[in-house]
Amino acid sequence: MPGFRKRSIRRWNPPQHSFSNMEIPYTISARPDTGLWNAKLGIWLFLASEVMLFGGLFSGYVFLRLGSAPGYWPHGLLNVPVGSMNTAILILSSVTVVMAWASLKMRQFTRYQIYMAITIICGIIFLAVKLAYEWPQKFVHFGAYIKPAVAEKYEDYLGNKHLIEKGLEPRYEITGHLHEIEINRADADPAELDTLIKARGLEVVKTEDEGKVLTLKVHSPSDAVALRDVLGVISNPDEPNPAKRTRKAHGVKIEAFELALDEINANPTSPENERPRFIPRSLSEKTATIHMEDIDGDGQAWSSFEPRHSSYFAVYFTITGLHGLHVLAGVLVFCYYMLPVSTRLYRQNPEHLANRVEVAGLFWHFVDLVWIFVFPIFYLL
């Protein structure tokens, strides 16, 4: 590959290198009859496309929310103060990125760098709050949907009689922090089960039925999933295919969950729980036991607050995840504008760097704007 090495050396000097015998016009100055330079038009077109992308996702939100049965769309689950703080941070960063651009226009490079650094820090704080606090919290929270037919058994935690009297939507989900689970290990591979219990540091609280039924103290819902997935050999003499008559399948049967209830289930008839509150509720002292046969979807409708838990969390994680990727992309671009490459560009052609910052700033405002829609539809409505 002749020439390949030459290229890799030259790559560090992009502005002069790329077009040796041609110049693309209107990269920096505006074309007189359109009044635009290329990248500015380009970014607006790109943003139009982005509007359609998030439009598609938001229309998914609307479709799912309107299609959800009464009582299956949660309210007030997210931490509104934290969300408000993130909103403020993002709006602040939108201001500072304009200040950075204005500083460049006024040829004040140091101020530009300060404002740009603040913007980057704001973006990082936003992402950190999202990834280190808001998302992980969801994965340790637990919820199980009760079959509507047997909801009366759990009336103390659901309070449906009270809700119906008040003309509010019924409630079918019990949420909280998972403390203990009761399993039947009759079909499980004992060695595999023991290894798992040791590896995850689970504590056996109670043993019943000749050691077949165990009650275990668990740390998070992922422990329950791991226990359920322990394999065992299940035989099915009715299977027509002899190769499949005995097969490996889930060998542990979960019998019941015991959880520390959220305030909303601990005290379901309290008028304070009728509408979402600004300050999130803490966990209560109360616990509840949910039996597997009462859980909806043939005992499958339980999980942590992960994407598969419900339509709400599916669309929550998808939209905030995609929005987070956009924030990350913006932060990376801004970081590029702080590198020596950009300082050199400023020395050569300050207007060029200002234009770049303007384009990235427009993108940043768009990302901010998306959040302005995301925040109310998930946190407040």
């Binding site: 290329n38 479709f63 299609g67 499958q300 419900s310 339509s311 995609l322």
Partner: protein, 640 residues
């Protein structure tokens, strides 16, 4: 990959001295990681043509199964070869139903997203648009390169999906949920049909359906980057004097196509992300509550809506239909004006029609969904808009037809394809009008009638336009003409066999043959019992299949011609077709930067046979035609 892009022209005539920047680009930079719009256009073109032929091969395999259901594929040992590579999909050379479904889904996907869009839109658009508007390159050359690379990755992802356990996607190119969610779901068993034993498990991500979605995400990204580039280029880089109404019609077609891609593709990207979440993260965007699959409750939260996928998909896929055809109409307009030696009839009306068409294409999508039970009121709305959209389409076709009137037509090879395009596109369009009506569509939906209808638009429509474009612009790209005799052979056999494929499908469709029958309808009395025009439904399958294989053979002269003419074709002058548009004032092939001198435009795009002019064509860049300026006084050239 074989344009001899020498830069000697530019060097010699510019007389610039760029010092140490002045060097011959190496192979990788020149042909693989190129930022030159012409090289990228050729990359798109060659890759796209290969995919087009590959997609066609998938269809030829399906046609064997349809004509000779359940028989071993005995053609030249092909069946044994396939059995070797696809032991679970083609055991002993006999196609399994799953493999048939894979071929069907991938034929649609590859033809639409990896064949026609890259060739008709990206390849011709990249190569021709900057030349026709007098620009040195695209506005964002690096993004242009990234666009091709994203396309390439998407294409490779699609190809890889053939070789993963479970095979390629098999839920149709529409990937309807919940079928697409439960097909090959992660963790499912792959069973060898011969031994009936579990041979492997479907991987979380490396299964056909998930790879299909990932591939789509790459392809969507590619067309997003491409369309931003196209629109900016057309708006910003027009040469001085190139006013909007002086743009060649092809550029208008590309502009509208870009807008459609820009705005219609993202909702599918959103939908793809949701379907990916459904498959990988176990969410239920498109899965209803209480879904039973194979007698077992599907363990998802439910609460989703299968209809949501269809809305998001068709919101893309209907504009996509126009993405497929508009570049084709643009190519045909260029070829027709050039070979009738007269201006395009109703240029302004055509421009208005194509703009209206672009707008209307966003509000007709649900006519693909009459059968879903979305309600009579919604259907009535979309029925009305669908009928309205036929008006601009008819304006375009009529203007092209009338353009022939009174012209001194030269039947060059591109013109042969262009003249064939018009009636064939007309058949496709007119057979679509009954489908716009809810009541008729309920009967014809998902029959071979639909297949015939839209293939008449994209196969003898767009693909013929692609051929016309290749023959027409080949001398510009390579400096040599393609062989005329081989071109005529290619055309006449193609036109016969392509009609042999699709015309009988109208008959089959009206008989009631469903488009997805694996055995060609053998097990249904409606097809084998009833005789129309001397053949029963299954016998028509033989006619269609043989036409398809012979159509494949008819492409061999083209493939040979394409490569042979690069070195051995007749040398072409700068303007071999005596054309007026700007690309014919650049050297052939154009150097990096395109024009020796930045062109200035003085007149409209189609000044052929102007009374009193010195020749029968007056190029746009020619300031003096020997006659007084009339319609368009030259604007002040825009200054940098």
């Amino acid at each position: 990959m074989a344009t001899p892009t020498t830069s000697t022209h530019a060097h010699g005539e510019h007389g610039h001295d760029h010092g140490d920047h002045h060097h011959e680009l190496g192979f990788w930079q020149k042909y693989v990681f190129s930022t030159d719009h012409k090289v990228i256009g050729i990359q798109y073109g060659v890759t796209g043509l290969i995919f087009l032929f590959f997609g066609f091969c998938l269809m030829m395999l399906m046609r064997f199964q349809l004509a000779y259901p359940g028989e071993e594929l005995h053609f030249l040992g092909l069946g044994r070869l396939l059995a070797y590579f696809f032991p679970t999909e083609m055991p002993k050379g006999i196609m399994t139903p799953d493999f048939y479904n894979s071929l069907g889904a991938m034929h649609g996907t590859i033809m639409v997203f990896l064949g026609i869009v890259p060739v008709a839109f990206a390849a011709f658009g990249n190569y021709v648009v900057p030349l026709q508007i007098g620009a040195p390159d695209m506005t964002f050359p690096k993004i242009n390169m990234a666009s091709y690379q994203a396309f390439f990755v998407g294409g490779v992802t699609m190809l890889i999906s053939f070789f993963v356990p479970g095979g390629a996607a098999k839920s149709g190119w529409t990937s309807y949920s919940p079928l697409a969610n439960v097909a090959d779901h992660p963790g499912a068993d792959v069973i060898d049909p011969a031994t009936n034993l579990v041979v492997s498990h479907v991987h979380m991500i490396f299964n056909g359906q998930t790879l299909w979605i990932l591939g789509m995400v790459f392809l969507i990204t590619s067309s997003l980057l491409g369309s931003v580039n196209f629109i900016t280029t057309i708006i910003q880089l027009r040469a001085p004097g190139m006013t909007w109404m002086r743009l060649p019609f092809f550029v208008w077609a590309q502009l509208v196509t870009s807008v459609l891609l820009l705005l219609a593709f993202p909702p599918l990207e959103a939908a793809s992300v949701m379907q990916l979440m459904d498959r990988v993260a176990g969410t239920s965007f498109f899965l209803p509550t209480g879904l039973y699959v194979g007698g077992h409750l599907w363990g998802n939260s439910g609460g989703g809506s299968p209809l949501l996928w269809q809305h998001l998909f068709w919101f893309l896929a209907h504009p996509e239909v126009y993405v497929l055809i508009l570049p084709g109409i643009g190519i045909i307009a260029e070829v027709v004006a050039n070979n009738t030696r007269k201006p395009l009839w109703g240029y302004k009306a055509m421009v208005m029609a194509i703009l209206v068409l672009g707008f209307l294409s966003f509000i007709v999508w649900a006519h693909h969904m009459y059968l879903t039970g979305m309600g009579a009121k919604v259907s009535a709305f979309f029925q009305t808009t669908t009928i309205i959209i036929s008006i601009p389409s008819v304006i375009l076709l009529t203007a092209l037809m009338i353009s022939l009137w009174g012209g001194s037509i030269r039947f060059t090879v591109p013109m042969l394809f262009a003249t064939a395009f018009m009636p064939e596109f007309g058949i496709g369009g007119l057979t679509g009008i009954p489908l716009a009506f809810n009541a008729v569509d309920l009967y014809l939906h998902d029959t071979y009638y639909i297949i015939a209808h839209f293939h008449y638009i994209v196969a003898p429509g767009t693909i013929f336009a692609i051929f016309a474009g290749v023959y027409y612009w080949y001398p510009k790209a390579t400096g040599r003409m393609m062989n005329d005799t081989l071109g005529r052979i290619h055309f006449f056999f193609s036109i016969i066999f392509i009609n042999g494929i699709f015309m009988p499908m109208f008959i089959q469709g009206m008989m009631g043959m469903h488009r997805r029958w694996y055995d060609g309808g053998l097990s249904y009395p409606v097809t084998s019992g009833r005789v129309v025009l001397g053949y029963s439904g299954t016998e028509w399958n033989h006619v269609i299949s043989w036409s398809a294989w012979l159509l494949g053979v008819a492409q061999l002269p083209f493939i040979f011609n394409f490569f042979w003419s690069i070195r051995h074709g007749k040398k072409a002058s700068i303007n071999p077709w005596d054309s007026t548009t700007l690309e014919w004032t650049a050297p052939s092939p154009p150097p990096h930067g395109n024009f020796d001198h930045p062109p200035t435009v003085y007149r409209g795009p189609y000044e052929y046979s102007v009374p009193g002019a010195s020749s029968d064509f007056t190029p746009q860049a020619q300031s003096d035609a020997g006659i007084p300026e009339k319609e368009h006084p030259p604007l002040e050239p825009a200054t940098a």
